[in-house]
């Protein structure tokens, strides 16, 4: 059986070839100028992010990828790394200038793949803003069999929206 399928393995696309960070940004901000910007949060800013997100912040050092078209800031991409069970995943959360999620995309997933959320489930985040509806008990439907993944992704979405609101005032300038 292995002899039969092994050659196939090298001709078919990868099961889970995640986009790189650059590809994820290109897909959500096509044609935009991307600028990497580091933010060092002050303690009050960190407290604000935590309060808005309702979940912990991993540190004060945050990278934002600002996307501009014609010089105008059209959105920001954040990369959030968090633990799922015992291992990490990293997702890009792209936020529009108006403070709504444009896309959530997995760029690294270290747990077994059966715990990974599929794209149709991830689409629930698109268009969401930072409000009480962004919760698994409200607008976000739970993910059967991958509860911890669903919770981690919901937390990441809230955290990135809170960062956007704190660093860019909700509506990007």
């Amino acid at each position: 059986m292995i002899r039969v399928f092994a050659p196939l393995a090298f001709t078919l696309p990868l099961f889970a070839a995640f986009p790189s960070s650059q590809e994820a940004l290109d897909q959500v901000f096509p044609g935009a100028q991307i600028t990497r910007r580091e933010h060092y949060l002050t303690d009050p800013q960190a407290q604000q992010v935590k309060a808005l997100a309702g979940t912990a912040l991993s540190g004060l050092w945050t990278i934002a990828y600002e996307a501009r078209l014609g010089g105008k800031l059209i959105g920001v991409g954040f990369f959030d790394t968090h633990r799922v069970r015992t291992l990490n995943e990293t997702v890009m959360v792209a936020v529009s200038a108006e403070g709504r999620i444009l896309r959530v995309e997995v760029v690294a997933f270290r747990e077994p793949l059966e715990y990974q959320a599929k794209q149709p489930w991830m689409k629930q985040f698109e268009g969401r803003e930072l409000d009480p509806e962004l919760s698994q008990k409200r607008a976000i439907r739970p993910l059967s069999g991958a509860t911890l993944t669903a919770q981690a992704l919901t937390d990441a979405a809230r955290r990135c929206l809170a960062l956007h609101q704190t660093l860019y005032g909700g509506a990007s300038k």
């Binding site: 393995a9 078919l12 990868l14 099961f15 889970a16 990497r36 997933f109």
Partner: protein, 419 residues
Amino acid sequence: MRFTLTTLALVLLAAPAFTQETPAEARLQDLERKIEILSKELETQKTGSILPESGDGAHGGSPAASKVYAIKGGLSIGGYGEFLYQAKEGRRQDGAEGGGTKNLDALRLVLYTGYKFNERIVFNSEVEFEHGGYSDSHPKGEVIVEFAYLDFLLNPSFNVRAGQVLVPMGFINELHEPPAFLGARRPLVERSIIPATWHENGIGIHGDLPGHLSYRTYLLNGLRADEFSAAGIRDGRQAGKEANAQSLAWTGRLDWNPTPGATLGLSFYTGNSNQSGHGEPIRTTLIEAHGEWRWRGLQARGLYAQTRLSAPGVAALNAEDPAREVGTQQWGGYLEVGYDLLQGSRQALIPYARYERLNTQAQVIAAVTPNLANDTMAFTLGVSYKPIPNTALKMDYQKLENKARTGRNQFNLALGFYF
């Protein structure tokens, strides 16, 4: 991370002592450049993904070569456990007093271990200690491999799995971490009709299909009919232990997720359970349908399963063999609903109810009289409290009745966790 950055910055700031001949402006630019390089390096390590090559500028379509599979390989560990207290009432359904029983069990402690050899070949396993594990002085316990397989990941729609696998039927058999289901005890239907946890040796394929569909199908060693009983096919499982594979079986499952939170699915199992290699075949076929709906704190699921065994094969078993009492038709189903009362909180408090009906001897061969105690109804009412999603404390009361009127109600308390 902050400590590392600070240390690196201090080292770099000390550098001017050795490069006094460089103009201050140039040194500052050099330091900024080095800090930016280190910052990107740290970001790459933290996220595990390749970052944009340039700090700014337009990015066109990236070459396919830039695709990376971020998991380089290695060990993955998970697990779950559950402790169960059961207090059965002494009074039977017919009013007879039989004396109550109370039991406190370290029901399960499970370790998942996986290893990713490369991006295409992954090992995954579950080793379970039941009832506190096994020792010579406590032989009721068990240490057992519940699954251990290699996945050959070829394509989202076509992947190969081989080893000891979980039979892909129902809800509980594949997803049985205690916080993932309501009820201190698993549903009776998914114990007696679908004999969870049901795992056998085999090989098969799995994947996702267009239209929000996913499937799994395997060829397995079959059940052993000579271990069947009036209680069902449960004891016929071979669990991968030097499994007799004279007769193979085929199982499969198809799930449809039309929208997040909704699942509709079907599954089946069919095979000859006569493992003697001769004599009348005992065709054993299970079919099952399930549905689940989760929406805003509400979770509801339903399942129906039925089993058919070929009567001539069962009748051909040795006249003294208790396996002849197995139902040639068995069926069961349940409906379950729960609602999370703590809407504004990360904690969960979920009152739930479950109604079950099952009969493991709905039909039997002519020479056997069915035991009416196997025609069962169970109604469960309880509450699950989850301080975090990984842990659950569940408490319920079960009304258990059967046609023989020997049912005894019971109170259950369970503590479960997973990681």
